[in-house]
């Protein structure tokens, strides 16, 4: 059994969310069944607070608590982190509750860098800027409403 000092490993739980997103390194669309009649919503997604303008922001978009908890995003994609703030328009979404997990792949290796004890050392964030408190932000804290039309959402990545 591996035993670790909880004082410095509790944050590791955040990885259980972020790491599965790495499958998204190829900007493939997950099992999303487009329904053009109902997909009337868009998210105008902004990331700011990018301290180092290199690599990419790796993003997972979730439309259910289960998908969020199990690391199965509705969509996953990357945004080149060329400036302190970057944006991406997400179109063709069904109105509803969504949440986002993201990390800044500063070194561009497609992975969330961790220190030798497994703690994240690249910036990460959740929608609503929900805090990762001794583990990942909860769905309840990170989820936000997306209505028909365009919803702006800004995440500070740090």
């Amino acid at each position: 059994m591996n035993v670790h000092n909880p004082m410095f490993v509790t944050i590791i739980a955040a990885l259980t969310l972020v790491v599965p997103m790495l499958a998204l390194a190829a900007p493939a669309i997950a099992a999303e069944t487009p329904d053009f009649a109902t997909a009337t919503a868009s998210i105008d997604l902004h990331f700011n607070g990018i301290a180092t303008p290199t690599g990419a922001i790796m993003v997972g978009l979730y439309n259910s608590e289960t998908g969020y908890a199990t690391g199965k995003p509705l969509r996953s994609f990357m945004i080149a982190a060329t400036t302190a703030a970057v944006t991406q328009m997400l179109t063709g979404l069904v109105p509803g509750r969504y949440a986002i997990k993201a990390f800044h792949d500063v070194d561009g290796d497609g992975q969330m860098a961790v220190n030798p004890f497994g703690m994240p050392v690249e910036p990460f964030a959740f929608s609503n800027d929900a805090p990762a408190n001794m583990g990942p932000a909860t769905w309840a804290a990170a989820a936000f409403d997306v209505a028909a039309g365009t919803t702006a959402h800004t995440i500070t990545i740090k």
């Binding site: 059994m1 591996n2 035993v3 670790h4 000092n5 909880p6 004082m7 410095f8 490993v9 509790t10 944050i11 590791i12 739980a13 955040a14 990885l15 259980t16 860098a113 220190n115 030798p116 004890f117 497994g118 703690m119 994240p120 050392v121 805090p131 990762a132 408190n133 001794m134 583990g135």
Partner: protein, 488 residues
């Protein structure tokens, strides 16, 4: 290095922590407060630079510089309290001795995320060594719980306030302003850095990062830059506050107080397993894969002295050895409540690891803590160990400072008496001198009668003669942990 993590376990630990609430009986009863509780009283803010009043004597010629000392100094906030002496906010104190014979004191809290969060909420909420997580606490990484309260070193012109489960905190050596956590390399951010690095005579720094049975060996140049960071596996997940080193080997003592579950506070993750004995892991500094394990009788400990190696390969070092970890588990938690709970005395003892694989433990019979020795002899043969001691049955904390001589078996002690809580003393060599005790002992006490912190200098060769010079502040700072001296 590859470390397999059980993330499910970690999430469970986080859930347990979230469910815990601060225990209201962590408060010190305002009534029946014993005089010694001044040693665990709260300091409400930074201490502006002040001249110290000279009580007697004269500053010895050649002794000029700053004694930096670190220790917890804020334990309680409006009805809540930390659950352990080790969890108070770190207050960095600078006692400066000037060539003109005057002395000053400045003290500032490390401006940590922990201190900021608790100040904002007005409650103690951050989990620690013996403090459960409080409601609404936000912990996004190890350094959110970092109290920066245990020791201090100077490296590369930076004053580093050390804790043991997170990064060093950088502070300004002149103003004591907090500059932020030290990251030695981006991929090593938030890695633990024990509060007891071993420093070779040329300034090279060795230290450990610990996570259960996994460790990382830090090697820094004298200027504080990273030379190497290499992972090793430990045979057991012992609680490890301190290790030691010879010129050629790292010596890691593994007491049978072992982390065997995921719990917060940290102390609840460990079980005392005396039947397992104490192990010593010896590692070749030049090749960390070259390791050897020795077996010793069961003991608990916090602090070891510098080690050395003899021609036939025998490794020797001393340590302050306890029969069991009652002090850490019970007494040090009770201190914050103003309760004195007696525990087995720490006894200065010599450990020898022989080249044929045998090991021995020889008690001196002297109660001792905070062992220090001549930094110029770190890793080399020596006979003198500076320590505090002469503990009383009716209260915690030492009332004497002494130098134990392993060759003569004599303790050269000065007993300050019941009115003083004696803190760690350092051995400061006399510039140009070379003898092991050719220098001074420099340290502090809390004078309970005067309700003030005092600074004292002794001739290291004549401790029993009493202090050469003493100064007094106009404030009593709580009993601290460890310090370092930076010569002017």
């Amino acid at each position: 290095m590859t470390i397999t993590l059980s993330r499910r376990d970690l999430i469970s630990a986080a859930a347990v922590a979230g469910a815990s609430l601060i225990c209201p009986d962590g408060l010190m009863a305002a009534t029946d407060r014993q005089p010694w509780t001044l040693g665990v009283a709260d300091v409400e803010g930074d201490i502006a630079p002040q001249a110290l009043a000279r009580l007697h004597g004269r500053l010895p010629c050649g002794l000029a510089g700053t004694l930096y000392r670190n220790g917890p100094a804020k334990f309680r906030r409006s009805g809540t309290a930390v659950g352990h002496w080790f969890d108070g906010d770190g207050l960095m104190r600078a006692f400066t001795l000037k060539a003109d014979g005057s002395a000053t004191l400045t003290a500032r809290f490390a401006d940590t995320p922990k201190r900021r969060q608790e100040a904002r909420l007005g409650r103690i909420v951050v989990p620690g060594f013996g403090t459960p997580a409080g409601a609404d606490v936000i912990i996004t990484g190890a350094d959110d719980a970092n109290a920066a309260n245990t020791s201090v070193i100077m490296a590369g012109g930076e004053l580093l306030a050390l804790w043991e489960a997170g990064s060093p905190m950088r502070m300004d050596p002149q103003t004591l302003a907090t500059r932020g956590f030290k990251t030695f390399r981006p991929d090593l951010a938030q890695m633990p850095f024990l509060a007891h690095p071993r420093i070779e005579p040329d300034g090279r720094i060795w230290n450990l990062a610990l996570s259960g049975g996994s460790a990382l060996v830090w090697r820094l140049a004298a200027d504080g830059t990273l030379q190497a960071a290499q992972g090793i596996k430990l045979p057991r997940a012992s609680y490890l506050h301190d290790f030691t080193a010879t010129a050629r080997h790292l010596v890691i003592v593994l007491q049978p107080w072992i982390a065997d579950k995921q719990r917060l506070p940290f102390i609840d993750s460990m079980t005392w397993q005396p039947e397992k004995g104490t192990q010593v892991l010896v590692i070749d500094k030049a090749d960390l894969t070259k390791q050897r394990i020795y077996e010793l009788p069961t003991f608990a400990f916090f602090h070891l002295g510098d080690a050395w190696e003899e021609r036939d390969g025998t490794i020797r070092f001393d340590g302050c050895i306890e029969a069991d970890p009652t002090f850490a588990r019970v007494s040090a938690a009770e201190l914050v409540k103003g309760v004195h709970q007696p525990a087995p005395m720490p006894i200065l003892s010599m450990i020898a690891l022989f080249s044929d694989g045998r090991a021995s433990l020889t008690p001196s019979g002297v109660a001792a803590e905070f062992p220090r020795s001549d930094a110029r002899r770190a890793g080399l043969a020596r006979r003198a160990t500076v320590h505090v001691g002469n503990y009383r049955a009716d209260r915690p904390f030492a009332q004497a400072v002494a130098v134990w001589d392993w060759q003569t078996g004599k303790d050269d002690a000065h007993v300050f008496g019941a009115d003083h809580l004696v803190e760690e003393f350092l051995l400061v060599p006399r510039p140009g001198g070379s003898g092991e005790r050719d220098g001074w002992l420099l340290g502090t006490t809390v004078n309970l009668a005067a309700r003030a912190t005092e600074l004292h200098v002794f001739d290291a060769g004549r401790v029993a003669a009493g202090p050469l010079c003493s100064w007094r502040a106009d404030v009593a700072l709580p009993v601290g942990f460890h310090g370092c001296f930076a010569g002017a």
